[in-house]
């Protein structure tokens, strides 16, 4: 199973800032290993962030994003104690979702 994300969410003046650090190899499929064999592509393709049950961000990722991607965004609304959920799916069909409370 994929490793957990680190998510921070804080609300201030009616705006919530979310910062997400994901644990993922993000292989492009173009690199070669020591023996010269191609390392198969393995990267996040889709990401969704929800405030309680409402989608506030959906994104398509590709192989040009770095290993262990970092994502920061803001959305209007949100209050202390509300749930923020971030989930991703990768090209191998693996997925991971983590949840935090807004601080």
């Amino acid at each position: 199973m994929a490793n957990p994300m680190r998510i921070r969410a804080s609300a201030k003046d009616g705006v919530t800032e979310v910062r997400v650090l994901m644990s993922h190899v993000m292989e492009t499929g173009q690199r070669k290993d020591a023996s010269g064999a191609l390392i198969p592509a393995h990267f996040i393709t889709e990401l969704t962030a929800k405030h309680n049950d409402k989608v506030v961000l959906s994104a398509q990722f590709g192989p040009s994003v770095s290993t262990n991607p970092y994502l920061a965004f803001k959305f209007k609304g949100g209050a202390k104690g509300d749930k923020v959920t971030v989930g991703w799916t990768d090209n191998k069909g693996e997925s991971r979702a983590d949840e935090v409370q807004i601080s």
Binding site: R6, L21, R31, S66, Y70
Partner: protein, 267 residues
Amino acid sequence: MRNALKPIAIVAALVMSHGTAVAQSTADDIAKYREMIADGNPSELFEMEGEELWKTPRGPMKATLEKCDLGMGPGVVKGASARMPRFFKDTGRVQDLESRLLTCMQTLQGIDPKLVIDGKFNSGERKTMAALVAYVVTHSKGDKVRVDMTNPQMKELYALGERAFYYRTGPMDFSCATCHGEDGKRIRLQDLPNLTKHEGAAAGWGSWPAYRVSNSQFWTMQHRLNDCFRQQRTAEPIYASDVTIALSVYMAAKANGGEVMTPGLKR
């Protein structure tokens, strides 16, 4: 590799148009880039993993590391790595963070230190070690380097570390001092801290262990020293061997009073 490519491409573009004022602007750009990603330092992922491992019963004795004494009393992590290496009465020797963690893993969990000492970086128990280190050093961030140089064993290791630092050997006649003995030097575009002075030692010792953006790995100080010797073209230093402790004492003593910025974020 590829993570570092983008900022370098930007740097190269700047260079084309500005000609000679390049070196400084390159260093500035790298600093800016570091600042940009510092907020999302992926070493946090290793720290999370380390915290989990610290609290997970492991090894033949199925115990956690929560009673591990890093010098501040059993289980105390806060500020511990800022005061290491230090002399430990129970083992009768000076230990750096990693050799001390080996002691804890052995005595509390029954894990054979050989699994780490003879292991490979980024795999098996050495990978576990790196995560544990990330967890521990994060809890000294913002502290000051405070190693006890009044201790006679520490003094002796400092003297040995200094000798190791200047020890020239191997097919290229290099020592640590070849690259880290003068102010304001670079290898290629990489700035080299002068580890013989407080300022450089504080910058170097204070910012390792670190996450390396170029290979997405978390490097402990043992790992860092190992790669320094690789590039010196010496034989391989044995994990947690005397030379690694002596050099750590030498650097930490020079850095004493400097800020702990661990885990760092490196190229």
